[in-house]
């Protein structure tokens, strides 16, 4: 990725404008669909992320959860040049001149991935000057991009890494709007610019929201939608208009560029993934029908506290549920949440993701997965530890369209991984080391391997363990 990202940077930044990117450049930013191209044909706002330097490293004698439901005891993980090179048992051979990390009594997992975060868009300090997560001036704003609100100096990124082992995350617009805008997927690497955090090759997502929030925000201003039926009407009309735009896009005289419709057309093309905030089972069923009416797919329902009521339907439709372990009761549509939601979905064969939507719980998604697992087992469901780890690694990677690159410990994938000082499903475990693309980005034993954002520099508590 490092090399390709560099090419993209050169094409976008240093060469003359109008100098078309080469075919391989375009491919390098695999999300370079028409819906997100700049006028020059290259991707708009391209990733400038490059992996940081790494040394060949092997973790040995460690318990491995591979992120795809597998477990290896007394295992070895070997990474070189930013990639996972080998994952196996004690017989796994490791070349000389490799940095050896003794993992005995410890656990390794893929880097933890949060499919639902607002870090950067709603950063701390959460002062009004930083409130950049909802373009709550109109209910349909597919034209906004979450990345244009991300403040890279949000201290929350470093907490998510050091305490939560987060290596990748999707930043979504908020849920005030029916169409909230584009999401952005980031590597959890401190950077001066958001472009230097953008996950190379990650597709875009689009945030939608059903239920209470849009109707509260706009109904309160006597605007549509003030009801759920108003929401669906506005949703459907928006898709009808998007279909028309898309059908004329390739005409000899195409319509004027429309940022919002470019995103919507990208969804209809299948290039942009739909992440739909939706709590209630009955509303999810309505959204599924709407997606069929207009020929797009919902990738994941987020905050889907009632997914357990339609677990069979969600399994059949192949839609992931991104859920909390146990949040409930904060509003009417969260009233029927139950702690067994994730486990019941797993039982039904549906895709389960544990998400945070929170700058605190992103620091312990492993613990949230563990609670959801325990509640499932308490009702007699048989789910392995390794499957619960998949809820916070491979499954969110899949919903973000990056599962070919990260999310599990397989040879050839990015070396994004966490060494835990105990079983990550235990309350007593914490990340000891975090690697991103093979680079050691956090080491609990080395105060210098802990990011300190500009905001915290020179402030009380700078560089503290937090």
């Amino acid at each position: 990725m490092k090399f390709r990202a560099l090419l993209a940077l050169v094409a976008g930044g240093s060469l003359m404008a109008g100098c078309a990117a080469t075919a391989s450049d375009t491919k390098s930013a695999s999300a370079a669909t028409p819906a997100q191209s700049g006028q020059s044909g290259g991707p708009a706002f391209p990733s400038t992320y490059e992996a940081y330097p790494s040394t060949p490293t092997a973790i040995i004698g460690v318990t491995i959860f591979d992120g795809e439901g597998g477990r290896i005891d007394n295992g070895t993980v070997f990474m070189v040049d930013g990639k996972i090179s080998a994952v196996g048992g004690p017989e796994t051979s490791v070349p000389e001149n490799t940095t050896m990390v003794d993992g005995s009594g410890k656990y390794v997992t893929p880097g933890i991935i949060d499919v639902h975060s607002h870090l950067g868009d709603y950063p701390t300090p959460s002062v009004s000057a930083h409130s950049d997560g909802n373009e709550a001036t109109a209910p349909v704003t597919p034209e906004v991009w979450a990345e244009h609100s991300v403040w890279p100096q949000d201290p929350g990124f470093s907490r998510a890494m050091a305490n939560g082992g987060i290596t990748a995350l999707q930043i979504l617009p908020g849920s005030a709007n029916l169409f909230g805008g584009r999401s952005v997927t980031l590597k959890n690497v401190p950077a001066r610019t958001v472009q230097a955090m953008k996950f190379p090759g990650a597709p875009y997502g689009m945030k939608m929201a059903c239920g209470e929030n849009p109707k509260r925000v706009y109904g309160g201003r006597n605007r549509m939608p003030s009801t759920r039926m108003g929401s669906l009407a506005l949703n459907r009309q928006t898709w009808i208009d998007a279909q028309e735009y898309r059908s004329k896009r390739d005409d000899a005289k195409p319509p004027k560029r429309d940022l919002g419709k470019e995103t919507l057309a990208g969804v209809l093309d299948g290039d942009i993934l739909v992440h739909n905030h939706c709590y209630r089972a009955d509303e999810m069923a309505q959204i599924i029908d709407m997606s069929k009416e207009f020929g797009y797919k919902v990738t994941a329902f987020h905050h889907a506290v009632e997914s357990y009521k339609i677990a069979d339907i969600l399994a059949r439709e192949g839609i992931c549920s991104a859920v909390w372990a146990d949040w409930w009761g904060f509003k009417m549509e969260a009233y029927d949440a139950i702690p067994e939601n994730a486990a019941l979905l797993q039982q039904a064969g549906a895709c389960v993701i544990i998400h945070s939507d929170d700058e605190n719980q992103i620091q312990r998604l492993n613990q949230e997965a563990s609670k959801a697992l325990a509640d499932g087992r308490a009702m007699g469901l048989e789910i392995s530890d390794a499957q619960a780890i998949q809820w916070i690694t491979y499954n969110p990677a899949k919903a973000m369209g990056i599962e070919e690159m990260t999310g599990s410990l397989k040879a050839g994938k990015m070396a994004d991984l966490v060494l835990w000082n105990g079983n990550p499903l235990s309350v007593y475990a914490r990340p000891e080391k975090v690697w991103i693309d093979g680079a050691l980005m956090f080491d609990s034993g080395d105060p210098k391997r802990r990011p300190v954002s500009d905001f915290e520099l020179g402030q009380p508590g700078e560089g503290d363990v937090k």
Binding site: W328, G329, V465
Partner: protein, 431 residues
Amino acid sequence: MNRFAKYLASAAALIAAPLAAQTTAITGGKVVIGDGSAPIEGGTVLIRGDRVVAAGANVTIPADARRIDATGKWVTPGLFAGFSRIGLVEVGAVTQTNDMNASGSPFSAALDVQYAINPFASPVAVNRAAGVTRAVVSPSTANSIFGGYGAIVDLGADEDPITRARAFQFVELGETGHSRAGGSRSASHIHFRALLEEARTYARNPAVFDSDLLKASDAKALLPVINGSTKLLVHVESANDILKVLDLRTDFPALDIVLVGANEGWRVANQIAAAGVPVLASALSDLPYGFEDLAATQSNIGRMKDAGVKVAIGMINDRDAHQLRYSVQYAGNLVALNKVPRATGLSWDEAFAAISSVPAEIMDMGGQLGSLKAGRQADVVIWNGDPLELSTQVETVIIDGVDQSLSNRQMRLRDRYRDPAPGTLPNAYDH
């Protein structure tokens, strides 16, 4: 049984008090007294009526005692939530079910949560099933720095939740106090002092009391704060705000202050300890939510404890009406810090005390609540493993000596949708 008789029977069941003479022995478990001492393997907890008679290794069990075998399990005091809003809220965003504050009321310090706490609210049942048996319940604030009277409650399945009404007064003196008072800490502190002075004026001659600042009811409510007979729970986070609160005792020496939140407490831990002021602290707060929280760290509680501060876990503004069940997870995380270089946590025994005996002691109820020492109210929980571990489940909850139902609507929904596709009848017939 006719309908009225049925009603009486169910009402009687609701208030089922333990038989005065009933004795229960919980045997064979790993007994945690809750006072910071180490767990006792194979211990016995003996309950008579609503009180603990004895707990430990060498307890004589009367022949007629009911026995509960807890071999392989852990037996602990019920969890004591050090700061909460339990029972004040059913659904947070449904304002008619949310009694945390009263933005439309002319009253402030006189507001009293004892009239609002609903023992039948579903959060009470959900958290009871998770082992929470007692809680500090505080109002929040709306138009004044003062929120009103808080209470100590039990989470029992009965109609009398109040353990101690008017247990404390609640006041905001940090960033929230700044905004409640009109936009400055100068204002919140002058407001605080002026209101207390007005209360003194009221005390001198209630009949002629006429104040631009304060209603007579509010003045009356502040009097016991001034003389220290009612505790004052003060929410502040920053080191500087904490010091300014400690300074209040220069002018009001009898104030019985408890700090709430105190994210930066570790920076002034020596001063807090020297003042003898206890803290109901947020366990895992580690982000600069505001400029008052710049130095927030999960090591805050451990560092304050090491400096000699009496500190328990509270959950102010942290899902404090619904998720008191997080208490064990939070305590467990403080234990986890012991393995993190440069971090300061609590030992397991200290961590459990921070959610049982220490909050009870801070509220001056350590003699009645929060541990399994003889004479305490019999709030007992049996767990199938280490209570601080995420995989552990609650098996039995006893409050005031009464076995509690663990059922709640979350469990009912779970059971209804175990197999979600409708069978021969719709799901609605499954009950």
